[in-house]
C-alpha cells in the first residue's frame, strides 16, 4: 500500500519533467500565438502593434503558402509511399533464409544513422551534380544527357534523399513486426495449400497493419518538419518549388525578419501536425492498456 508520504515523493519525482515540458509547450507556443496577431518585423523594432487576423489573411492568400502546403503534402506522401512500400518488400526479403543475414541487416539500416546534412550534401554533390555526380556519369555512359536533378526536379530529388534516410526505419520496424508472426499459422496456411500471394494478403498484411500504421504516423510527424535537407540542397528553390511549410516559416522569420507572418505560418503548421498527432496518440495509447 502506498502511504501518503510515498505519494508525495512520487509526485516530487515526476514534477521536474512535467514542469519543464509544460514550460517548453506553453511559453514558446503562447509567444508564437501572440506574435501571429502582431505586426512585428525585426528590421523595425519598437513598431509592434496588434493587427488581428491580418497575418493569417496575408499568409493564406500568399501563393507561396499554397505552394509550400502542396510541397509539404507531396513530400510527406511521396516519402511515405516509397518507404512503406519499399519497407514491406525489404522486410519480406530480409525475413527469408539467407547467408549473412546479420550483415545485410546492418547495411540496410545504416542510412538511418547518417546525419541529415551529410546525406543531403553527399547526394547533392556526389550523386546528383550534373557535371561530376555519379548519376551524370551513368547518364553519359549510356549516351544520355545528364540531368540537373536539384534544378529540374527539386522536390522529387529531395523526396528521394529523404526516402533513402527513412526506408531503413520502415524496414526495421516492419521486419520486427514480421518476426513476431506465428510460424504455426503460416504452416497451417501452407498445408491448406495457400499460395504466396494469398498468404501475404490474408495473413501477413493484417499482421503488419498495426506496425504499418505506426510507421506512417511517426514518419509523418518527422516528415512534416523536414528542414536540413532543403536548406543544404536547394534553399527551397528554384522559386518556391521545394519550399515546405517548415522552410517557409524559417525563411519568413530568419531571412525576411517578418516575425508576425512567420508566426501565423507556425501556428498553421502546429494545427496540421496536431491532426496527425491525434491519430498517433490513439494508437500508442492502446499499448498502455
Amino acid at each position: 500500500m502506498a502511504t501518503r508520504h510515498q505519494n508525495t515523493l512520487a509526485r516530487l519525482m515526476v514534477a521536474p519533467s512535467v514542469l519543464l515540458l509544460l514550460a517548453w509547450m506553453i511559453v514558446p507556443l503562447g509567444m508564437t500565438l501572440w506574435f501571429s496577431f502582431q505586426s512585428y518585423n525585426l528590421l523595425s523594432p519598437g513598431m509592434e502593434r496588434f493587427i488581428g487576423w491580418t497575418n493569417y489573411q496575408y499568409f493564406l492568400s500568399d501563393p507561396a503558402f499554397w505552394t509550400a502546403m502542396a510541397n509539404t503534402l507531396l513530400l510527406v506522401g511521396g516519402v511515405l509511399v516509397i518507404t512503406v512500400g519499399g519497407g514491406i518488400l525489404l522486410a519480406l526479403l530480409l525475413d527469408q533464409p539467407m547467408f549473412g543475414q546479420g550483415i545485410v541487416r546492418i547495411l540496410v539500416i545504416a542510412p538511418f544513422f547518417i546525419m541529415p546534412t551529410v546525406s543531403a550534401l553527399v547526394w547533392k554533390n556526389m550523386f546528383m551534380n550534373p557535371v561530376n555526380g555519379l548519376f551524370a556519369w551513368i547518364a553519359k555512359a549510356m549516351g544520355a544527357q545528364p540531368i540537373d536533378f536539384l534544378a529540374q526536379y527539386p522536390l522529387m530529388s529531395i523526396i528521394l534523399i529523404v526516402s533513402w534516410q527513412w526506408l531503413p526505419f520502415a524496414t526495421l520496424i516492419l521486419l520486427t513486426a514480421l518476426q513476431s508472426l506465428d510460424s504455426e499459422q503460416m504452416e497451417a496456411a501452407e498445408m491448406d495449400g495457400a499460395g504466396a500471394l494469398s498468404k501475404f494478403i490474408h495473413l501477413v498484411l493484417p499482421h503488419l497493419s498495426r506496425a504499418i500504421t505506426v510507421v506512417i504516423l511517426i514518419e509523418t510527424i518527422f516528415l512534416l518538419s523536414v528542414f536540413a535537407e532543403i536548406l543544404v540542397t536547394t534553399n527551397g528553390g528554384p522559386g518556391y518549388q521545394s519550399t515546405n511549410l517548415t522552410y517557409l516559416v524559417y525563411s519568413q522569420a530568419l531571412l525576411q525578419f517578418d516575425v508576425g507572418g512567420a508566426s501565423a505560418g507556425g501556428i498553421i503548421a502546429v494545427i496540421l501536425a496536431n491532426i496527425v498527432a491525434i491519430f498517433l496518440m490513439r494508437m500508442i495509447g492502446k499499448t498502455l492498456e
Binding site: P16, V108, M115, P116, T117, V122, L172, I173, E184, T246
Partner: protein
C-alpha cells in the same frame, strides 16, 4: 519447427538481399572511399572505385582548414550532455510512474508524448528571440538544453517501458527480507534498471547527434556541432568532394557504430513501445 529450405532458394535470397543491401549502403561506402582519394581522383570520369592512390591527406586538411576537432567535441558534449541531463530528470519520473502509478499517470505519459509532436516551426521564432535576448545563441549550454527538452518525452517513455518490465514482486521480496532502502536501490533495483537506462542513453545520444533543425538554427560557429559544420559545405567548398567526404566520414562513423549496436532499442524507442 524449421521449414525445409532448398539450397537454391537460400542462395537466391542471399544474392538478391545482398544486392539490395549494397545498393542502399552504396552512398555511404562511396563517401568513405572518396574520403581517401585526391580531389582529382574524386571527380575522375569514369569514376575510380578501388584503384586509386589512397591518401589520408583529406583528413589532415579538414582539420587544418577549420577547427574540425572543436565541432566534433561540440557534437559529443551536446549530444551526451543533453542525454545525461535528460536522464537525470527522467529517471525519477519514469521510476515513480512505473512503480507507483497514480490515477492520471497514463494521461500524463500521453501528454508528455504529445509535446514531442509539436512541429519545430511552431516554436522556432520565440526560441530564437528568447535565445537572442538571453545571449544563448551559439552557446553549447543553450543548444544542450533545447535538445534535452525535445528528447525528454522519448527518454521518459523509453525508461518507463523498461522499468515497467521489472517485476515489483522483487521489490516486495527484498523489503520482506528487511533490506534497507539503500540496499534495495543499490543491490536490487540498479542492476535491473541499468540495461534499460543504457539503451535509452544510446538511442538518445544518436538522436541528439543527428538533430538538424535546432542545431542549424541556434548555432553558427563557436557552439556549432557537426550538423551545422557540415552544412557549411553546401557553399562552393562542397565541390571539394574528397574533403567533404572526409569531414562527413568522421561525422558519421562514431554514430554508425553506436547505431548498429542499438538496432533493437531503436524500434522500441522510436515507436514508444508500440512495436517491440
Amino acid at each position: 519447427m524449421a521449414r525445409k529450405i532448398s539450397n537454391t532458394s537460400r542462395w537466391g535470397f542471399t544474392i538478391l538481399a545482398w544486392g539490395v543491401a549494397l545498393l542502399i549502403f552504396f552512398p555511404i561506402l562511396w563517401t568513405i572511399l572518396t574520403s581517401f582519394k585526391s580531389e582529382a581522383d574524386a571527380i575522375a570520369s569514369p569514376p575510380k572505385f578501388l584503384f586509386f592512390d589512397w591518401t589520408t591527406q583529406n583528413y589532415a586538411e579538414v582539420q587544418s582548414r577549420s577547427p574540425y576537432f572543436r565541432h566534433f567535441m561540440n557534437s559529443v558534449i551536446i549530444s551526451v550532455g543533453s542525454t545525461l541531463l535528460g536522464l537525470l530528470i527522467a529517471v525519477p519520473a519514469a521510476w515513480s510512474m512505473a512503480f507507483q502509478p497514480a490515477r492520471r499517470t497514463k494521461d500524463l505519459l500521453m501528454w508528455m508524448l504529445s509535446t514531442k509532436m509539436m512541429p519545430a516551426a511552431g516554436v522556432l521564432i520565440p526560441m530564437y528571440l528568447l535565445f537572442r535576448s538571453w545571449g544563448l545563441l551559439d552557446t553549447r549550454l543553450g543548444i544542450t538544453v533545447v535538445l534535452m527538452l525535445i528528447n525528454l518525452p522519448i527518454i521518459v517513455w523509453m525508461l518507463y517501458t523498461y522499468f515497467r518490465e521489472i517485476p515489483s514482486e522483487i521489490l516486495e521480496a527484498a523489503r520482506m527480507d528487511g533490506a534497507s532502502l539503500k540496499n534495495e536501490i543499490v543491490h536490487v533495483l540498479t542492476p535491473m534498471a541499468v540495461p534499460g537506462i543504457a539503451s535509452t542513453l544510446l538511442l538518445n545520444v544518436i538522436l541528439a547527434w543527428n538533430e538538424a533543425f535546432w542545431t542549424l538554427n541556434l548555432t553558427t560557429s563557436r557552439a556549432a556541432p557537426l550538423t551545422t559544420f557540415i552544412a557549411s559545405y553546401s557553399s562552393p567548398e562542397g565541390l571539394f568532394y574528397a574533403k567533404l567526404s572526409a569531414a562527413s566520414t568522421m561525422a558519421i562513423a562514431p554514430i554508425l557504430i553506436l547505431g548498429w549496436f542499438s538496432q533493437k532499442q531503436l524500434v522500441r524507442g522510436l515507436t514508444f513501445g508500440a512495436v517491440k
